[in-house]
């Protein structure tokens, strides 16, 4: 039986089309043989009770796939205009309004598979959904998700139907329908179905899908429908529409207040819950104190309640103070000898001592020194920085000093000691106050400067915050990272969700500094509640407050906010928060951009983490391909709101890694490949994709029904060739003569990149330039008279100037400069040839799409070597227009200047396998075979080590390839044997030598490395001499000749 793939390769074949709409039980075709339903029909009952109905008319229809050469974006004019004759009244019913639809108040998440039988309605009643449609998604009779699937084997996951029945409504409504109905954006697919003349059958839908040749277009229906009685003209957007979504739109984008919620750390070494009190007198003009009782950071007596309020702190201090005042010290009993007294009150601290005349006739001042953590002072309304005394000119000034300066061994960082004297306002020392030191026996007050119990953010993460009373609306956790293990206090429960918020409020770092708006970013974890209000939100604690845990701060400068990380406790009366969509996994130096792109494309919202940060396991979602097993965090990992749910079957995943290889500064690990993306509210995924593509010179194309990423300025080599086009592949009129454009682009003189986007506008920089302009340095620049400028939007590039040189993340700017000043400028400005509108036969057309690298030979197009006709030129396809009626295509190819073969490559090396138990598994003399490792040195490329021991198929040089085997005998390397290659097997990883060519001794248990014999030792006719580069002396020559060395392919 001929496979579908073989059928598709034929130029002359009988075929029809099948239009499938996701969630719809009927499909349209243009072939009678395919129409029907259930047993006996072509579709049969293997895919449920689907109906294939006649009426599709694709005569004259075309599909165009293109990648913009200038900026690498996929072109959006990939729509398909479909004609359908509605013979069976399917379409007219499909487009009918459904008044019986029911709005739901409960969420149907993609993880609910199978779907529950009922969802909660807005009125609280149960709404049955089995056998019905939730928005565009069909639910099966037993809760199957996406029951009427787009692919014959079923679709990976259902969609997210976010809903919420709380008071704060931020979501669009979701409805349950009794029948499929037209909704904008419903996904659809077009299959080409081939007839097998050998067996006189139409192979099944599944066989067609599995061939990779049948699915020729995917897209989504629009409301653009023009019926003319039963003849409908429907407009459907193409595959680019699947990349177009407002992502993150379900997350609230309002700024809401953060309630004060204090927790004092009890961690040894970082304790914040202890205090110290020292009570003393001092006579005027006497150097020594009269020392009363003191108590310093005693873990039993001098301790605050860790989650107390200002009132609790005052009570604890006053209680301890009363005890100490009555306790004899080394010299005095502070509260008895001169009747000193002090207390902490709401808004002030007061202290007094009896005035003269006294028993000994000397004037004394009373002094109380209290040390507590800055959080405690701030909670009581005192600010140790702002209120620190200079001249004691007002009762707001207090002598605050770091605890260490007051000779107090604090139990952790952040402690401040305050000295409260009876010396009245206006005197900056006891001696200056003279007889007034006792304040005439009256209370001396020190006033707090701020309201008490204001919200505080400590500088170190690991604290809880309250987002106010009641749930803050729909608030779904992200799955980019695992949850940090924590049990929330006050009955908040164990954290099981995590997300990100921006925090802002007024801030003053130093006493003399003006107040500014502080903005910072934090990861937050909470207990998710999806039951009470039907959709995910933050669970409430015992006081009905939405309580969250802050396990870490995120350096806000990564997201354009010109604020350094907090280095002291931040207390502000106007502190507020706003949820943020943080798209990424690594929270430090950024993620690799191409991985983010992958994750954006394939995330469906079905991933789960088990365990907690530090030991968590990620189970990626249903759309996870095995190819990404090693990088699961960049697979189907994010929630549906932050993913495009593009099936991984239509993504060429290896191309993503390959495209990064040519980035300057380390390829995949180049700093230019790092990105950080975050936003508030919704953002356009198409813009996000463009922001990833543009600053890296990448292009995204839909090629052979898969999205592929490629690097536009890459110098193409023979290795890259995927299709060969010769004059025999050109179809059309006999007199067809191809036309070319010798200026594919207008030259670019400068490239300006803007990375100034700021997540929170209040945090925008005022003095840093977040743009970079680079000048072209291509060879033609010296003579060109031009001012062409390319503006590059580059959200996500790390705004390095905000670090002001203090430990900035890796610098991408030199890589960018190299890429654009050299590679991109050369590419834009080189003598490329754009071959436009080349008509291609069906057998070849199916291989071509935007991004395909071709080797092209044509008869007429002018080349840049001074003759007509292109011979074995390399080029990349940028546009393909497929004619659905003839299956042929017209293509635009950007032909690279120069001739293939000008450059040379690295020679191969192979290592003989050694973890085997018999000699014949290493070398088999009877079959002349040596067994080598597939990837001995961990290069990681999908290229067998033995592959380049034979001549590439496109090379026509010929000749033998002589190999040397080097052997390690335990002490030294020696050349032990040699042979001439006959063939290699890149699957079995073997090299077979030519009969009679083997000489030397193969030690059966030693290490062996096989390389090509040196250039001089190769036969003068050997292809190896023409293909590989050679190590030279410093004068760039080698060997006996000496021979001039050869440049490498870049």
């Amino acid at each position: 039986m001929t496979s579908v793939a073989d059928l598709a390769r034929r130029d002359h074949v009988e075929c029809g089309y099948l239009l499938v709409m996701q969630g719809v039980p009927f499909m349209f075709t243009d072939r009678e043989e395919l129409a029907g339903s259930e047993t006996g029909s072509w579709i049969g009952d293997a895919y449920g009770k689907r109906r294939v109905v006649m009426g599709l008319d694709l005569r004259g229809a075309t599909i165009t796939y293109a990648t913009e050469m200038g900026d690498g974006r996929p072109a959006t004019d990939d729509s398909l205009t479909i004609k359908v004759i509605d013979l069976d009244d399917e379409l007219i019913a499909f487009f009918s309004e459904q008044p019986s639809r029911v709005q739901i108040g409960g969420r149907l998440s993609p993880k609910m598979d199978p779907a529950p039988e009922f969802l909660i309605g807005t009125s609280g009643a149960n709404v049955p959904i089995w056998g019905k449609w939730v928005n565009a998604e069909s639910i099966g009779p037993a809760g199957e998700r996406n029951y009427w699937s787009l692919f014959p084997g079923g679709d990976a996951a259902g969609f997210d139907h976010a809903a919420y029945n709380g008071d704060t409504q931020t979501l669009a409504p979701s409805y349950v329908y009794d029948a499929p109905t037209h909704l904008d954006g419903r996904r659809c697919a077009l299959y080409r179905i081939y007839f097998d003349h050998d067996t006189q059958t139409w192979p099944s839908w599944q066989a067609h899908h599995d061939s990779g040749e049948s699915l020729i277009w995917v897209g989504s229906l629009t409301s653009d429908a023009k019926p003319k009685h039963r003849e409908w003209t429907l407009k459907a957007d193409g595959p680019s529409s699947w990349l177009r979504k407002q992502i993150g739109g379900n997350r609230p984008s309002e700024w809401l207040p953060v309630s004060g919620d204090l927790a004092l750390s009890t961690t040894p070494g970082a304790r914040e819950d202890l205090f110290a009190i020292r009570l003393r007198y001092r006579q005027v003009n006497q150097p020594d104190f009269e020392v009363g009782a003191s108590s310093l950071f005693d873990v039993v007596d001098d301790v605050f309640t860790s989650n107390g309020t200002a009132s609790d702190f005052r009570t604890a201090l006053n209680t301890r103070l009363a005890t100490l005042a009555a306790t004899p010290g080394p010299d005095i009993v502070w509260g008895t000898d001169r009747n000193a007294e002090a207390s902490f009150e709401d808004g002030y601290v007061e202290i007094r001592i009896d005035e003269l005349p006294e028993a000994d006739g000397f004037v004394r001042a009373a002094l109380m020194t209290v040390a507590a953590h800055t959080k405690v002072w701030r909670a009581m309304g005192f600010d140790p920085i702002v209120q620190a005394a200079t001249n004691f000119e007002s009762d707001f000034e207090v002598k605050f000093t770091p605890a260490a300066n007051a000779n107090l061994a604090a139990p952790g960082p952040g402690y401040w000691a305050a000295e409260f004297w009876t010396v009245p306002v206006g005197y900056n020392s006891i001696n200056n106050s003279g007889g007034d030191a006792d304040n005439s026996g009256a209370f001396r007050r020190y006033r707090a400067i701020a309201p008490q119990d204001i919200a505080q953010i400590p500088s170190k993460a690991g604290f809880e915050l309250s987002f106010g009373i009641g749930s803050p609306g729909y608030f779904e956790g992200q799955t980019n990272r695992p949850v940090v293990e924590h049990t929330l206090s006050n009955g908040g429960g164990a954290c099981n969700a995590q997300g990100y918020v921006a925090l802002k409020g007024s801030y003053r770092g130093e006493k003399d500094e003006d107040s500014s708006v502080m903005v910072t970013l934090a990861q937050v974890c909470w207990r998710s509640d999806s039951v009470t209000l039907g959709g995910d939100t933050i669970g409430l604690d015992d006081d009905s407050a939405a309580r969250v845990f802050v396990p870490r701060f995120i350096d806000a400068r990564f997201h354009g906010i010109d604020r350094k990380p907090l280095d002291t406790t931040w207390a502000a009366p106007d502190l507020s928060y706003c949820p943020v969509n943080l798209f990424g996994h690594a929270l430090d130096s950024g993620d690799l951009a191409h991985r983010l792109l992958t994750r954006l494309l394939i995330s469906t919202g079905t991933a789960e983490w088990s365990g907690f940060e530090g030991g968590a396991t990620l189970t990626p979602g249903a759309n996870h391909p095995a190819y990404l097993d090693a990088v699961k965090a960049y697979s189907d990992t994010e929630i549906a709101d932050l993913g495009l749910a593009v099936p991984h079957e239509i993504i060429n995943l290896p191309s993503f890694g390959k495209a990064t290889a040519s980035l300057p500064g380390g390829g995949i690990n180049s700093p230019l490949n790092r990105a950080r993306h975050a936003w508030v509210g919704a953002t356009d995924s198409q813009e996000l994709i463009a922001a990833v593509l543009a600053p890296r010179g990448w292009g995204l194309g839909f090629c052979r029904n898969k999205w592929r990423l490629f690097s536009r300025p890459d110098l193409l080599t023979d290795e890259d060739v995927e299709a060969v086009i010769t004059p025999a592949d050109v179809v059309g009129e006999p007199e067809f003569v191809e036309a070319v454009n010798l200026r594919a682009f207008t030259p670019r003189e400068t490239f300006a990149v803007d990375f100034s986007e700021c997540l929170v506008s209040e945090g925008e920089t005022e003095d840093r330039d977040l743009t970079l302009t680079v000048q072209a340095r291509d060879p033609a620049r010296n003579t060109r008279l031009d001012n062409g400028k390319a503006d590059i939007e580059a959200k996500g590039l790390i705004p390095l100037p905000l670090w002001r040189g203090e430990n900035p993340p890796p610098d991408w700017r030199s890589a960018f400069t190299t890429l654009f000043a050299e590679s991109m400028a050369t590419w834009y400005n080189s003598p490329q040839i754009l071959l436009e509108g080349l008509p291609i036969l069906p057998s070849k057309a199916r291989e071509l799409g935007p991004g395909t690298v071709v080797r092209l030979t044509s008869l007429y197009a002018p080349n840049r070597e001074g003759t007509y006709g292109l011979t074995n030129k390399l080029g990349r396809v940028y546009k393909v227009e497929h004619d659905l009626e003839t299956r042929s295509a017209t293509v635009d190819i950007l032909v690279q200047p120069g001739t293939a073969g000008d450059t040379r490559y690295f020679a191969p090396v192979a290592v003989v396998v050694d973890d085997v138990s018999t000699v014949e598994e290493r070398i088999d003399m009877s079959t002349r075979t040596i067994f080598v490792k597939g990837d001995a040195f961990g290069h990681g490329e999908d290229i067998a080590d033995c592959r380049f021991f034979v001549e590439p198929p496109w090379s026509a040089v010929g000749g033998p390839a002589l190999c040397y085997v080097y052997t390690w005998n335990g002490r030294a390397w020696n050349q032990s044997c040699e042979f001439v290659v006959e063939s290699v097997d890149t699957t079995a990883n073997t090299i077979t030598w030519a009969d009679g060519s083997f000489s030397g001794t193969f030690s059966d248990s030693a290490y062996h490395v096989i390389v090509l014999a040196p250039w001089d030792a190769q036969d003068s006719s050997s292809w190896t001499r023409a293909y590989f580069s050679v190590l030279t002396k410093p004068d760039f020559t080698f060997g006996a000749g000496p021979t001039q060395g050869f440049p490498l392919a870049p």
């Binding site: 952790g412 690594a586 950024g590 020679a907 961990g938 052997t967």
Partner: protein, 429 residues
């Protein structure tokens, strides 16, 4: 098919093993068999045995008290290049007429036992070190001696004899039948390698770092593929791979303890002051000063593989215990004596549980933990543990456990999210 012997290595000049083939059969890469002269084995001449230091000679033979004679020799009718012989239950290793090192065979009795005699040499400048190790297979005893001496030059025209000296002189009491295996090699073999090859092969620990030598490379003078006129590529790839692997090698243990008198831990801490709750605050998890270590770490490592040998048991020998859970903690800035000014940082490994008693104890892999260290490079390691008491604990059974051994092996690992992100494993303090 021609079987490859596990002990046939790149340096092997001769390998005999009675368990695998006739004793005269060379199982090494040269595959040149010896001659059986009835009471002894011979190769005349034997240039391959004329190896100068570094060199390995291992002979496995049957012995008993009172036996003597030449085990193996490279010599002629007048002199010898090297010789291993037995006399008075003692093994003598000699070269060019000079005794290099001698050692009594441990635990020898008047019944026949299998004995491994391992004489290996390595060089340091012009000095040669001879290591002689002898293993008694019946008693499991090892004996070891070492000596330094000048180098010798073996004569390639000499004859190799096994079970006697040249021409059958000074025959070994057990004759050729007593010879069980022989290995001659061109490099030094450590006693550990001898144990792996001739006593028992151990099971390697589960370990994601490179714990062996990186890819073999050599100077351009030795390996001509890096020389001028060679094709470019292979030398770059080999050197690059070797460098990368070298960077990921283990650099030696941070902790490697075999605890002679392990303390029996029960549910109740004793004394209480030695225990602290783990900083994560998870219920019941504890640290104890018995299981707290510190030291300075190499700057090239960032994670450690942790392995403990634990004996968990019911105190009266019962068959049920509550699960005992373990977790590795790496800590920086551990507060001591009032504490430093900096807050503590720590990272944790996964939780691994022992759920059934074992009298012999079990090795428990605690996985990989990221290493925390302070600005000076000081790092603490603590074993977190929890007897996860079930409802029968203290009623029907009393769970105990003790730590017999622990290894914490630091190495370098790409922590950037599989090479694709930032600090994936980083945990908030």
């Amino acid at each position: 098919m021609t079987l490859l012997h596990r002990n046939s290595k790149a340096d092997t000049a001769l390998l005999l093993d009675r368990d695998a083939a006739t004793i005269t059969t060379d199982l090494g890469p040269e595959r040149t068999n010896l001659t059986n002269v009835t009471t002894y084995l011979e190769e005349d001449p034997s240039p391959r045995a004329a190896i100068d230091a570094p060199r390995n000679i291992t002979i496995v033979a049957t012995m008993q008290t009172g036996w003597g004679g030449t085990l193996i020799e490279l010599g002629n009718n007048a002199t010898y290049s090297w010789r291993l012989s037995v006399s008075g239950d003692e093994v003598f290793a000699a070269e060019g007429g000079l005794l290099r090192v001698r050692l009594p065979v441990p635990g020898l009795t008047d019944s026949k036992v299998r004995v491994v005699v391992h004489w290996s040499q390595h060089t340091q400048g012009v000095i040669v070190f001879s290591e002689l190790a002898i293993y008694n297979d019946a008693t499991g005893q090892w004996a070891f001696a070492t000596a330094s001496h000048s180098a010798a030059t073996p004569d390639p025209d000499d004859t190799l004899t096994i079970g006697a000296s040249f021409g059958g002189g000074s025959p070994y009491s057990g004759e050729a039948d007593a010879v069980l295996a022989v290995h001659l090699g061109r490099r030094f073999h450590s006693t550990t390698e001898a144990r792996q090859d001739w006593v028992a092969e151990s099971t390697p620990a589960a370990f994601t770092g490179f714990d062996r030598s990186p890819a073999l490379t050599a100077a351009a003078a030795d390996l001509v593929i890096a020389g001028e006129g060679e094709f470019a590529g292979p030398s770059f790839l080999m050197a690059g791979a070797a460098t990368r692997q070298a960077g990921q090698r283990a650099v030696g243990h941070f902790i490697n303890l075999d605890i002679r008198e392990p303390h029996v831990e029960l549910l109740a801490p004793d004394p209480v002051r030695w225990y602290r709750p783990t900083p994560s605050g998870a219920d019941g998890w504890q640290w104890c000063v018995r299981y707290l270590w510190h030291g300075l770490l190499s700057p090239k490592v960032n994670v450690a593989a942790v392995r403990i040998h634990v004996r968990a048991a019911e105190v009266t020998g019962g068959s049920t215990i509550s699960p005992v859970r373990f977790r590795a903690f790496s800590i920086a800035d551990l507060p001591l004596n009032g504490g430093p000014d900096k807050a503590m940082t720590y990272y944790r490994g996964p939780i691994v549980s022992v759920t059934s008693p074992s009298s012999a104890g079990v090795w428990v892999e605690l996985g990989t933990v990221r290493l925390a260290r302070d600005a000076e490079g000081l790092s603490y390691f603590a074993l977190g543990f929890l007897i996860d008491a079930d409802e029968d604990e203290g009623v029907l059974h009393n769970t105990s456990w003790k730590l017999n051994a622990i290894t914490v092996t630091p190495f370098a690992k790409d922590l950037s999210g599989g090479g694709f992100g930032g600090d994936m494993d980083k945990e908030a303090p």
